[in-house]
Structures are given as structure tokens and as C-alpha cells.
Symmetry: C2
Subunit: 106 residues, 2 copies
DNA sequence: ACCTCACATTTACGATTATCGATATATGGA
DNA sequence: TCCATATATCGATAATCGTAAATGTGAGGT
């Protein structure tokens, strides 16, 4: 419970780059192969590969190899995991008895 | 619509640090003053101030000055904004007709 | 076997970020 | 007014991140 923050921060790092958000936006329309992402983004091939690696490591995106091409898409479990994360960040306190209106002056 | 990614990435950067997630976790229990956060986190005072500045700039946290102390809490509009963001990242495509099962092989 | 295509990985470097110590700016009380 | 407390800001340094060139890999065609 203590180092979960590190793991969660790791996942959020996948989202805090402009290019990766753009890639996720493209993948919302459905599965796309790397070459298609490459021409829609204005970046180099190695750079795209770097970002796809980070997105896949976060678990939100999965790659499916078909012959020479790799097809990327947003994973179903990735969607769920992200929703749970947001609850942990901006959700309300889990239990009502955890001093919700605590007097914080020392 | 084009540079929204930059703005969104900016907001996510508030969440991709271990200490800031820990602070948000503490604030879930209710409003807390800086000195209380300082003793619960194991970091220096200037470092805490640095993180609070970033969290406030993202709009998720608000600071309320009361005398010598500043009390921080998660803002209601911050909660909503984060939920909208997550929808934009991991939600499904907005319209059914945007080629959901597009054949992506070139 | 060889070659090419389509990516992935390695490596290096500049830019950004986190951290801390020191200093500065409030705020309230004597 | 001066002093003490609570944050903020300003250095400087170390770590991390994004980018691209070079290299590696694995599949398919000749």
C-alpha cells in the first residue's frame, strides 16, 4: 500500500506526453498499425517506437503482431485500470469515518 | 482541437510524480494545512511548496489561506475535470461511425 | 542464401524536473 | 516596531525524459 504511489505514477507517466496523448486519440478510432501511426504523427520512426513501448508497458495499449506489421489498440483491461486509477486520485474518501471534515489547524 | 493534447499533457504531469500522488491521497481524507502535509510526507519544506504549486496550477487542488496557515484540498471542479480527461484518454470513440473496426493494414 | 521491409533496441545528448539549502515574503503577537 | 512562525521563491545540482542516429531483429520475397 505504501509504494503503490510509485506504480501509479509510472502509469500516469504514460499520459503526460503530448505525442502519447495524440497516439491514444488516434487509437480511440480503433486498431492501427505502426506505419499508419507514423504517417499521422509528425515524428521519426524510432521516436514512435519509444512511445509505443512506454504505452504498452503501462498496460493501456497492446500490440498484436500480424506478419511484418504490428497493430496497436487500447486494451479493455487498460481502460478499466485507468478508471480505477482516477478514482484513487480524484475520488472521494473510501469511508465516511476517516475524518472527512478534520480540523487541520495545528 | 490540435493543441489540446499539450494542455492535457500539462495536467497529467501533475499526477506523474510519486510524492504528488501521495499528497493527493492524503487530501482525499479532507482539507489539510501545509505543515500537516509536511510532517506526513518525508520531504523538505521547499520541496513540498514546489509540489503544491504544481498541484494548484493543475486546478485539482486549491489553497485557502487562513491567518498564517494555508489549507489545501481537492477542488470539486478539479474532480470533474479529471473525470473528463480520463474519458478523453481511455474512453471509447465518441461516434459509432468513426471507423471503429477499420482495416489498418496498408 | 541473400536482400529488403517494418519495426525494435541501443546509445548519446540536450531539455526538463526534483530536490535541498538559503533567502525572501507574508502574518500575527509582544 | 521587532520577533517568531508559516510558506514561497531563488539558487545549484542530480536525476529523469524526449528525441534521433545508428544498429539489431524477424518476416517475407527473390
Amino acid at each position: 500500500m505504501e509504494t503503490d504511489f510509485r506504480r501509479n505514477a509510472e502509469i500516469f507517466k504514460a499520459f503526460c506526453d503530448e505525442n502519447r496523448l495524440k497516439i491514444l486519440g488516434l487509437l480511440r478510432g480503433g486498431e492501427k498499425c505502426a506505419c499508419k501511426l507514423l504517417e499521422e504523427m509528425g515524428i521519426g520512426q524510432s521516436t514512435l517506437s519509444h512511445h509505443m513501448r512506454i504505452l504498452c508497458a503501462s498496460g493501456v495499449v497492446v500490440g498484436r503482431r500480424e506478419g511484418k506489421w504490428v497493430h496497436y489498440s487500447i486494451s479493455e483491461e487498460g481502460r478499466e485500470r485507468v478508471k480505477g486509477l482516477i478514482e484513487q486520485v480524484a475520488g472521494r474518501a473510501p469511508k465516511g469515518g476517516e475524518a472527512p471534515v478534520e480540523e487541520s489547524r495545528p
